[in-house]
């Protein structure tokens, strides 16, 4: 039910704003990001052996980690929207497919899914190639980054479907009915009325999904993707310095996640003020 608040002075939306506000939080958060960066710099400068060597060896992985995370995340936003709309579809076949997708994927560990895409899926393709006599398929070789991106997208797409579904279902039924009664189609109503309202609701959980995805992207190191974690493992094998290596790996992830969390809060704040 809508609440009726006659002529509240000022912007009533602000009173619902659950975000940390004020200069204190702002400084603390950036302080953390800068603090961790400073710590990395200090270690690299003051203890160049092994930290400078570690940093230089691992830094190629930063781009790979970010690349895999960001590409997957963009795809996840699309897959999640389709999955979320599927979950609430009236058509039982569409709803059934979406539900099976979500439940099956959420029931299997991400690490197992990544291994499936990298190790099992190519041999399925090769097997099909052999059966139909297609040498292109028979000689198919999986690219680690592509397979890792597919694996992350499929897995996080299922979780994101649920985020979208919950967000769309949180919008009162009357909004869809009003839109339909004006002659809008289901998809017009979704596009112009429901989703713009749902986006505000789902922004915090979507932001959390991004940060989880960033951290879980470390699992792609198991399927030969040269991300931060894999580069770390390689450096450890070269240097025999596991403690310093994984301090560096952990600090690099920490910078990225803290920075992302900061960006998520910032985006939430500007979308709230915009209305």
């Amino acid at each position: 039910m809508e609440e009726i608040e006659p002529s509240v002075p000022g912007n009533p939306i602000d009173s619902h704003n659950p975000l940390p506000k004020g200069k204190g939080d702002f400084d603390l958060w950036w302080g953390l990001v800068i603090g961790v960066i400073a710590l990395i710099a200090l270690l690299v400068i003051l203890v160049p052996d092994p930290f400078s060597r570690a940093f230089n060896f691992i830094k190629d992985g930063i781009g790979i980690s970010l690349f895999v995370t960001i590409i997957s995340f963009v795809l996840v936003l699309v897959v999640g929207l389709i999955g979320g709309l599927g979950r609430i579809a009236k058509n039982p076949v569409i709803a059934g497919i979406a539900t099976v997708y979500v439940e099956v994927i959420r029931g299997i560990p991400l690490l197992v899914q990544l291994m499936f895409w990298y190790f099992a899926f190519p041999s399925v393709i090769q097997g099909i190639g052999k059966a139909i006599g297609s040498s292109a398929l028979e000689n198919y070789i999986a690219d680690p980054v592509v397979m890792a991106t597919i694996g992350l997208t499929f897995c996080y797409g299922a979780y994101m479907s649920e985020v979208y579904r919950a967000g769309i279902q949180s919008i009162p039924k009357g909004q869809m009915e009003a839109a339909r009664s004006l002659g809008m189609t289901y998809f017009q109503a979704m596009r112009y009325v429901i989703i713009p309202q749902a986006v505000r609701v789902i922004l915090p959980p979507v932001g959390n999904e991004f940060i989880s995805l960033l951290k879980d992207s470390s699992l792609v190191s198991v399927v030969a993707v040269g991300d931060i974690t894999l580069r770390g493992r390689q450096f450890m094998a070269l240097s025999f310095k596991p403690v310093e290596t994984f301090i560096m790996v952990a600090l690099l992830y920490l910078v990225l996640t803290l920075f992302s969390a900061r960006m998520v809060t910032w985006i939430e704040r500007i979308t709230k003020l915009e209305r």
């Binding site: 039910m1 809508e2 609440e3 009726i4 608040e5 006659p6 002529s7 509240v8 009533p12 939306i13 009162p172 009357g174 909004q175 009915e177 009003a178 839109a179 339909r180 009664s181 004006l182 002659g183 809008m184 189609t185 017009q188 112009y192 009325v193 713009p196 309202q197 505000r200 209305r275």
Partner: protein
């Protein structure tokens, strides 16, 4: 009389095991104002919602302005001819008042922004709140929100307006401002189907009053006759509770 603009024939509606409409037949002429009364759960909303197919019915037929409600294409065609006003207003909460009224004009009626805004401002004038164009729904009183909702529906130039208990969610002091707007619409000759227990409005504006109970039309008559000399026991019983 000419061909009725709304023709409802033997309509049945089930919600699972609940038989919400049990063979409702009703013809409404162009320019007529029909008020439906009846106890809660008697199927008034369901009947109204069947007229623009927010609810699908299981048996019978409804023809609106010579368009039968069967194919999806016809349903959207009918919906653009029929405006609906809800008890809970249902304004789009992410849009300003002006955007609420222009959105469907732009998407469905393909009007340019300037033209849609002119239509909207004229209608806001008509419902008496031109100064609220830039406000968000949450910043308006219930009465103001409901008047915006009426303006939003009128912006599509509907031939028929459906009102489902438009004043039931309002504080008493705001009821009249909404009824005044509806009264003016009725005077202009709009075809209206109104679910409401506002007896004053019904007496003044309605050509016909209809009592529904248990998913059926029990009695229909001009309002004065229905209120003062009801024939059916169920009508008398209901009126004794409401009046």
């Amino acid at each position: 009389m000419s061909e009725a603009i709304i023709q409802i024939k033997d309509v049945h509606k089930y919600f699972g095991h609940v038989h919400a409409l049990k063979g409702v037949s009703l013809e409404i002429q162009k320019g007529e104002v029909v008020v439906i009364i009846g106890p809660s759960g008697s199927g008034k909303s369901t009947l109204l919602r069947c007229i623009n197919r927010l609810e699908e019915f299981d048996k019978g037929s409804i023809v609106v302005d010579n368009i039968p409600l069967d194919s999806a294409k016809n349903i959207n065609a009918v919906r653009t001819e029929v405006g609906m006003v809800f008890q809970q207003f249902n304004l789009f909460s992410h849009l300003t008042v002006l955007e609420n009224i222009t959105l469907a004009q732009k998407i469905i009626r393909k009007r340019e922004k300037a033209q849609a805004e002119k239509v909207a401002m004229d209608l806001l004038d008509k419902v008496g709140i031109p100064d609220k164009a830039k406000a968000f729904p949450i910043q308006l009183s219930g009465g103001q929100q409901q008047r915006v909702a009426i303006a939003r529906a009128l912006a599509m130039n509907p031939k028929i307006m459906l009102f489902d208990e438009p004043t039931s969610a309002l504080d008493p002091e705001m009821i009249q401002e909404v009824l005044d707007v509806m009264m003016n619409l009725a005077k202009e000759g709009m075809t209206m189907v109104v679910v409401s227990h506002e007896m004053g409005f019904t007496r003044a504006a309605a050509n016909r009053a209809i009592l529904m109970d248990g998913g059926q039309i029990i009695e229909e008559a001009p309002p004065n006759i229905l209120f003062n000399n009801p024939t059916h026991e169920r009508t008398k019983l209901f009126l004794s509770k409401v009046l």
